[in-house]
């Protein structure tokens, strides 16, 4: 029976860099396909409501602003969102999806209502020339890279 087989392993790590990260001061980078927070490219959306129907958390609400104009309002309730990206999968616009995910992950806040984001936009006509890929909106949370 050997005593203390774990000893070499422990001593080996005594002067090694810790495996943990000094979190709020140092951050790990998230991988390329990370599912962060959903956001809308308003000029691509055709207001088909596929995302609203398939969202498992009922976090997306689309309303028509007025009957005459093709104006719509989309609200994403980030406090309800479970970051599954089903809305991105369901979105039919081609070749660029109107719904997209960024890399934000530090979403904690004191008031859940501040987590709401909304867009008011005119419905895009489906068969238009594809627009260039719009950039993601800059992050409003300091230190976190947007996509």
């Amino acid at each position: 029976m050997k005593v203390a087989v774990f000893l070499p392993e422990l001593l080996r790590h005594l002067f090694k860099k810790p495996a943990t990260v000094d979190y709020p001061f140092k951050k790990l980078t998230v991988p390329e396909g990370f599912r962060g927070t959903p956001f809308l490219h308003p000029d691509l959306c055709i207001a088909c409501r596929a995302c609203e129907r398939d969202c498992p958390a009922e976090a997306i609400v689309i309303t028509q602003e007025s009957d005459v104009e093709k104006k719509f309002k989309m609200v994403i309730h980030n406090d309800r969102c479970i970051h599954c990206a089903q809305c991105v999968d369901s979105c039919p616009t081609n070749p660029v999806k109107a719904m997209d995910m960024d890399h934000l992950y530090e979403l904690a806040c004191f008031d859940r209502h501040t987590l709401k984001t909304e867009w008011v936009f005119t419905r895009a006509t489906p068969k238009r020339e594809p627009k260039p890929v719009p950039a993601a909106p800059a992050s409003d949370r300091a230190g976190i890279p947007a996509k």
């Binding site: 203390a4 774990f6 000893l7 422990l10 001593l11 790590h13 005594l14 002067f15 090694k16 810790p18 495996a19 943990t20 000094d22």
Partner: protein, 323 residues
């Protein structure tokens, strides 16, 4: 003047204040070493390298609500933390440290002080048992009985292991034992078995893994101290820290040749040697998994006690040879 100096002695150095500062430092050291052995960071943010974390913990606990359970034996429940702290602080005074107040010397160094120190170090165990029992919580009571069961295991080997160097040095005075071994460093070698036994028994006395049975949180929540909170818990934690300092100081004084030379040198020796002992204790903590209380008693009587007896025999034989 002498009175003032005695008061300074009791309260500042090497009394309460010093013990508090050094005790929290040792806790930080223990936590940091433990964390590093596990490839973690340990305390990081409070003070430089997290040095003030144990102090911050202490003051945070002091500020917390202090709850005394209705069913508890209130006077006993309240008194125990204070008595516990007083006992270990008294034990701390017996450390053969450099003493700037010679007037108070008679208080702290005399023939037989090693026995008194060992006795004072046994008291916290009893206090932990009483604390568990007086809380009348089922978990505390199980913790309390476990404390006592363990006490019957490790106390005898500890005494035998600690007293054998004293027998060789032919003195019951810690300072003299240290001086004896400083004069003949080679004689420290026969005491190695005793050193190992004493280290393990101190680990058990301090209730650290693998002997953290009385407060094994996955089994019996907080164990003995389940019902304690706020100031009382802070006192108990400080008591454990000081107990750590005193017992590692005792081992350093007896098995590692004590602390001699000029005052500064002696103090440095004290720091280095106690930290070395604490490092070993942390290593044991990181290395082992908790065992059951019946296994502790079996281990103590089947392995530790024979080893301690062996140590005594070696010491007696060597003593005969030296004569």
């Amino acid at each position: 003047m002498a009175v003032l100096k005695t008061i300074l002695y009791l309260l500042v150095y090497p009394g309460l204040l010093f013990l508090f500062v050094y005790g929290t430092f040792c806790e930080w050291f223990d936590r940091k070493v433990y964390a590093r052995l596990q490839n973690r960071m340990g305390p990081t943010h409070t003070g430089r390298w997290g040095l003030l974390q144990p102090v911050a913990d202490f003051f945070k606990l002091m500020a917390k609500e202090d709850i005394v359970p209705d069913a508890a034996d209130k006077p006993l429940f309240t008194l125990l933390p204070i008595v516990g702290l007083a006992v270990v602080a008294t034990a701390g005074l017996l450390m053969p440290l450099w003493n700037p107040f010679p007037e108070a010397a008679g208080l702290i160094s005399f023939q037989g002080d090693i026995i008194v120190l060992l006795y004072l170090l046994s008291l916290p165990t009893l206090i932990a048992f009483l604390a568990g029992w007086s809380s009348t919580n089922i978990f505390s009571q199980i913790g309390g009985t476990r404390v006592l069961t363990m006490l019957f295991g490790y106390e005898v080997p500890l005494f035998m292991a600690v007293l054998s160097p004293a027998i060789l040095a032919n003195s019951w005075r810690i300072a003299e034992i240290g001086a004896f071994y400083r004069a003949r460093p080679l004689l420290l070698l026969p005491n190695v078995i005793g050193f190992v036994v004493a280290l393990i028994c101190v680990q058990a006395k301090l209730e650290r893994t693998p002997f953290d049975i009385p407060h094994a949180e996955t089994e019996i929540v907080g164990g003995t101290f389940t019902e304690y909170s706020g100031k009382k818990l802070a006192f108990f934690r400080l008591m454990t820290d000081i107990e750590l300092v005193v017992s590692s100081g005792l081992i350093a004084a007896i098995f590692l040749g004590g602390f001699g030379g000029s005052p500064i040198l002696a103090f440095l020796q004290f720091v280095v040697k106690t930290l070395a002992v604490i490092f070993l204790l942390s290593l044991i903590r990181a290395l082992t998994s908790r065992i059951r209380v019946d296994q502790v008693v079996a281990f103590a009587w089947k392995t530790m006690a024979p080893l301690a007896v062996l140590q005594l025999l070696i010491v007696i034989i060597i003593k005969g040879l030296l004569k």
